[in-house]
């Protein structure tokens, strides 16, 4: 395995400070994702350290803009329309000519400046309400120049917090399976703007089911590289890889418990798939299911007390919930004859899953306590593999709506669905990490 220098930005020295915060007036109730109605201008950051080859200013603006677009709440105004130029203007209430921004239709404005000294980047950025001519929030970040992307993702999350009352989900990483580099399914990670893309596996066999450790530092995945589908863990900072489980047959779809102490995984005994709980070294602690039917795809509740999984015990695959200590399982899906891929929301209230009807696969959510499912995707070919963002308000999923499978992000209502990955090959089985800290 190549040494992976991933998450270099995870060891962020980025010191975060509030810079003169105003109180946000606009909370989520006045608009929702999907309307894309809220026009925001994001000015390239002003270079305060003299002319450098660095393109920090526009890059920061690009990444923030990309994240805000993914959120579904915002329309990013085209930079070529901006009248006030960063290099010849300030980024305080007193030094901004708000008329220059209201005339192009901006209701919100992001402006800031940065200095680069050696490898160090200091960046100060502010969000303004153009109509009220006041600052809503501001942040100062210090760190390595390689941490620019994380600073942008953090500020995008802060902007979303200002407008919705809850932190955005983009200071995180995505793991996924892709055939972008050839016919083999390999595992990749990237940030929300498709930046920092890293190929994690390169074994030219079959690699499936990546999932994150709760500290967003390591990935679990199942690989056929030793011919049997075994479970591996890779530490993305050190690049160190460990074979955790090599039982004959499936060692599939392992998920680490929220407290980081255990794993749930599908194993196979004589052709029959069951869900077990293992310790972090791969030793089986207990068997959760022992039915004649297929039992797969465990997903932990955020408190670690329960596990959702998929079982065919009634003859067709359905979603069930049971105690992580074992015992009886409770069925939570009752419509449709093919319900798979449960993903328990980090807020705890919903389970996302995939359901087949009329030859199409779509993403749904259902309340853990039961009730009517909510359909998030429809009429757009196959939509599968839901994984929740760290905020519990967004999901990433794979969709074949454009032909090849690509990843998309949706809010929990399904009203905003934005393409996350582009380019060649099929992208599938996304796993959205928790927030990086």
């Amino acid at each position: 395995m190549n040494r992976v220098r991933l998450l270099a930005g995870a060891c962020v020295g980025a010191l975060v400070m509030q810079v003169g915060v105003g109180t946000a007036q606009m909370k989520g109730s006045i608009f929702g994702p999907g309307t894309r109605s809220y026009p925001v201008a994001i000015a390239p950051l002003k270079d305060l350290s003299g002319p450098l080859a660095e393109d920090v200013g526009p890059r920061f603006a690009d990444i923030v803009g990309r994240d805000l677009t993914l959120s579904g709440y915002f329309k990013i105004l085209d930079r070529s329309a901006y009248i006030e130029k960063s290099e010849s203007s300030g980024y305080t209430v007193d030094s901004i000519n708000f008329d220059n921004w209201s005339v192009i239709g901006a209701l919100a404005l992001v402006k800031g400046g940065y200095t680069v000294q050696g490898d160090n980047l200091t960046l100060e950025v502010r969000l303004f309400d153009v109509y009220q001519r006041r600052q809503l929030t501001g942040r100062r970040y210090h760190g390595s120049v390689t941490e620019l992307r994380r600073m942008a993702n953090k500020f995008a999350d802060e902007i979303i917090a200002q407008f919705t009352g809850e932190r955005g989900p983009f200071d995180a990483r995505f793991a996924f399976v892709s055939t972008r580099d050839g016919k083999f399914k390999e595992i990749y990670v990237m940030s929300a703007d498709e930046g920092d893309l890293q190929q994690i596996t390169k074994n030219q066999t079959i690699n499936v089911s990546p999932s994150w450790s709760p500290d967003s530092r390591s990935l679990l995945y199942t690989s056929y590289k030793r011919r049997n589908p075994d479970l591996f863990l890779i530490d993305l900072i050190s690049g160190r890889e460990t074979l955790l489980s090599q039982r004959p047959g499936l060692n599939l779809g392992a998920r680490i418990s929220p407290d980081g102490t255990k794993m749930a995984m599908t194993v196979e005994d004589d052709g029959n798939a069951d869900v077990v709980v293992l310790d972090r070294s791969g030793k089986v602690l207990r068997r959760l299911t022992d039915s004649w039917a297929i039992d797969v795809s465990p997903s932990w509740s955020p408190d670690g007390k329960q596990i959702a999984f998929c079982s065919s015990r009634t003859g067709s695959p359905q979603i069930y919930v049971m105690s992580a200590d074992g015992g009886a399982a409770r069925r939570v899906t009752f419509s449709g004859d093919y319900n798979t891929s449960p993903a328990w929301s980090p807020k705890g209230d919903l389970i996302a899953y995939v359901s087949r009807s009329e030859g199409e696969f779509n993403v749904f959510t259902v309340k853990v306590d039961g009730g009517e499912p909510r359909q998030l995707t429809q009429g757009a070919r196959n939509n599968e593999d839901p994984s929740w963002g760290p905020d519990g308000r967004y999901l990433v999923f794979s969709s074949s709506r454009l032909g090849r499978k690509k990843l998309f992000i949706t809010d929990v209502t399904g009203s905003s669905q934005v393409q996350l990955t582009h380019g060649g090959g099929d992208d599938s089985s996304p796993a959205w990490s928790r927030w990086l800290e």
């Binding site: 074979l243 004959p248 047959g249 052709g271 798939a273 030793k283 297929i294 039992d295 797969v296």
Partner: protein, 173 residues
């Protein structure tokens, strides 16, 4: 496949099959192994994964044992499948030294993990039937490839039907 070539292929796969057999453990036992890199060396290239790597999967080359096929989301052996399994069983009786790896496959529709579990059951269904025909169970190993190694890549029922299969790889004779 010529007998001499088969013999050569067999040596490698025997290593693989015995390797899999040896690592079989009872429930509850699991040793974590540190970064070991065993595996692909020593495997001859007739399994579907090896064919896929070589670019020959679906190229039509057949072993002595025929594939069986399944309905969507089903592990049931229909009369056609049972007839093929009886032929395969007779071949195994005539070649009493042969060991076989049974590969379970699915079509592309549905969930990767569920299909891997479904493929395991399809392989197991064929193994159980062969055992009822008198084939000793330890001559038969199983592996699931789920929807990962389709023979046919079009999104049509005809194609899907080809992909929902058990494939039989003769490992040693």
């Amino acid at each position: 496949m010529g007998k001499r070539l088969l013999g050569m292929v067999v040596v490698g796969l025997l290593v693989a099959v015995l390797g899999v057999g040896c690592s079989a453990k009872k429930k509850g036992e699991q040793a974590g192994t540190e970064g070991s890199n065993l595996g692909e060396e020593g495997l001859a290239g007739t399994g579907s994964l090896e064919k896929y790597k070589a670019g020959t999967l679906g190229a039509g080359e057949e072993g002595p044992l025929k594939d069986i096929h399944f309905a969507y989301d089903s592990i049931d052996l229909d009369e056609t499948a049972r007839g093929i399994l009886r032929d395969n069983g007779n071949w195994l009786k005539d070649h009493s030294g042969a060991r076989v790896e049974i590969e379970g496959h699915c079509d592309e529709r549905g969930t990767v993990e569920y299909n891997l579990a479904l493929g395991a059951r399809r392989a197991r269904a064929a193994k159980d039937y062969l055992v009822t025909l008198g084939i000793v169970a330890n001559r038969l190993t199983t592996i699931s490839y789920g929807e990962e190694l389709p023979l046919c890549h079009e999104h049509t029922e005809e194609c899907w039907a080809q992909n929902r299969r058990d494939h039989f790889v003769v490992a040693s004779e």
